[in-house]
């Protein structure tokens, strides 16, 4: 049995759903970020897998997109963690529920 793109896509779907779960469900900003990373990784797997379909000319598109996505998510995580640290300084918690000062 050959490994086809479908296999990769299935794994990506699973990772996406798991990441989604963490991002929406967990009460900890860092775990939310981990969930987001899982979602990004799912997309990265997709991109790289699809790069194998399109061998005509644009073969490297998907791979480079994946590369940029990885780097960008790293940058975003760095900024997010900086904000988390700052949130912790003020609220002494990293549960997004408890970061709640605004009242309307």
């Amino acid at each position: 049995m050959n490994i086809t793109i479908g296999h990769f896509l299935m794994i990506s779907a699973a990772l996406f759903a798991i990441g989604f779960y963490a991002a929406l469900r967990r009460r900890n900003i860092i775990l939310v970020l981990i969930g987001i990373e899982l979602m990004v990784n799912a997309a990265v797997i997709n991109l790289v897998a699809f790069a194998n379909v399109n061998k005509n000319g644009n073969a490297q598109d998907g791979k480079l997109m994946a590369l940029f996505a990885i780097v960008l998510s790293a940058a975003a995580i760095a900024l997010a963690l900086a904000i988390v640290v700052k949130v912790y300084q003020h609220f002494k918690t990293i549960n997004p529920d408890e970061v709640e000062e605004f009242k309307n």
């Binding site: 990441g19 987001i36 598109d61 997010a80 904000i83 700052k86 605004f102």
Partner: protein, 503 residues
Amino acid sequence: MEWYLKLQSLIESNNLSWKFLLPEFFLLLFFLLGLIIDLFWKPSKLLPLLMLAGLAVSGYFTFLQISTPNQAQQLFNGMLLLNNKTIIFKLLLTLVSFIFLVYSLTDQRVKQQRISEYFYLVPLFLIALNMLCMSSHLLSIYLSLEMVSLFSYGYVALAINEKRNAEAAMKYILFGLLASALLLYGISLLYGFSGTLSLLDPNFLAAFAKAPMPIIALSLTLILAGILFKIAAVPFHFYAPDVYQGTSATTLVLLSIAPKIAGYAMFANFLSCFSFQIFNQQLFWPMYNWETTLSVIASVTIILGSFVAISQTNIKRLMAYAGIAQSGFLLMGLIGYTAIGLVALLNYLFAYVLMTSAAFMLISYFEQQHEAFDLADYKGLVSKSPMAAILLVIVFASLIGLPPFIGFTGKFLLFSASYQAYLSSANPSVLFTIFTAAIGSIISLFYYFKIVRNMFMREATWVKVSSEEQGVLYFLVLPIVIAIIYFGILPSGIIAYIQSLIA
């Protein structure tokens, strides 16, 4: 050999493209200058002025890029597309940044805290925004979109009131990262089934059309999620009120406008590859029902934004929801993707820049002078700052769309454009959007005039007056308000200019 020639052409394209980024180079240059000055002469009053000069120079070179007749330049092998439409967007962005910088100069809190980054990051932000306007490749879209988002998060997090900033930034970034993860996933699907990331690729649509319907729907929906987040449209608008509330009104002069403009520019670019012109009739790619999608989103955005704005008691939350409703109005220009729609969109964005920046400057002014944050704090302000109050009324009237202010001609064109879209598509949901937009206009009267009512018709409970600094009103807000009136009475010039540029 062939491979080598191809490489040659790729490099050639890159080499030819750099010169079109002259404005951005200047921005970068001034940013670096600012960085260095900030490092060596820490408390420098020169810095903001230098940045202003940078914006001016960049704006000048952007202006010079205007080509008559309209010529589209593909830069960097289709990464970017420069045409008059994107130049107008860029000019609008430069204008906002300029207003923001000038206003920041007067902000007491910025002065006191000596946040020099506040100033020298503006050119860099503008680069990101410009890139988003020009990007025509899914990679550059994703990259510049992410860049704009990161700048936005960063600006929100910049300290003025640290605790509030932190909370707003946290909510903003979590929401934003989730949305961009969806966007990325959507892009990956789009790429997978169309085989290309370049929107300018002539084979893109043909290849994508072969993709199965559910995949098309799924990928476009996911991409739309990312875009809607950027333009703060329903349902990805939830972050806006919290973020606005936690951010100083001064920052909002930039943040409530610039990302939205760039978002619309990108949205227009994105939609442009799904629309064709056949026999003078603008048609959308038939596989995806763009008209219905856009009109439903526009209607829901207008209605939800307007209704929720009514019950707000914090002015910035109110402005956030009002901004959401305005976003819906702007979307009306894209329904049908007609030429008039684009003109209407650009014209209204111009109006939006003037009105919203003026509004936030005034709100910021009230924040600083009278510590007014809630609607209740606005009671009787007309007796304390009559000039500012009157200017705010004019701005609000324009935002509602009353003549003879620029908001009226803007909305008028948007209505006309969507009516035109309705005539050509005969899609009843477009008509529905027009109706909801009408209703939204009426409701907008209600919430904007709650503030006006408080200012003019209620007695002040307590008003803290700090040093009377009316200067900013006269040299910055007043000219903008005069422009609001001028372009309301004589709109021909600006509309004709936009039309002539993008024709």
